[in-house]
Symmetry: C2
Amino acid sequence: MTQPTFRALADPTRRDILQMLATGDMTIAQITDRFDMTRAAVKKHLTVLSDGGLITTEVRGRERINRLDPAGFAPVRDWLTFFDRFWDDRLTALTDAIEKDQP
Amino acid sequence: MTQPTFRALADPTRRDILQMLATGDMTIAQITDRFDMTRAAVKKHLTVLSDGGLITTEVRGRERINRLDPAGFAPVRDWLTFFDRFWDDRLTALTDAIEKDQP
DNA sequence: TAGATAGGATACCGATTGGTATCACGTCAA
DNA sequence: TTGACGTGATACCAATCGGTATCCTATCTA
């Protein structure tokens, strides 16, 4: 499930959409108003974001409310954590070595 | 500088290369050995990773040592932090509201 | 010095991507 | 009921992407 997420974040427009949704849920038309783009283009981006699990949609009448999904960010966070742990280990190994050098 | 970074992370092969480099610095030939891919293809991926600031290269004789660059991950981490802060605020606002409801 | 080794550069190919234009469908309101 | 409104869906286009093949340069070594 991590590939669709990273793929979704690769486009600057999609990252902008996510930041906009952070300020509040929005319909497609509302998002389109803030971009120099067709509604169809925005819709495509929203589909990619949805595939990546980063947003969810709630159908209300003829409208579709797009909402940020905090859980969708987990894959990225987890992936970063892998490297964080790796670097932490490297750092402790380094300080350990230094301590041994100066007993 | 954040767009090249996200772009670099969008490809699964490139993320694999990063994980491989976490176990130790490697030359292009060494990386190519572990993939079913041409050296030229790997080289392209390394260029994208370098553009994203995720790796650095040290020329040693006729070899090029590719090394992970921890600093390159900062843009992604910072970007995630934005949403973390946002959700934290939302959560505290919610708990505050609940506390007011039950004095 | 001659070959082998490690890598750079470029042209090319099929597939994917971001975008538009267009038409079709359900839903709301007068 | 009849439009207007909010979306979905599809066909199409230029540009980018991941990958290969090929040729070239620099460096090490026998």
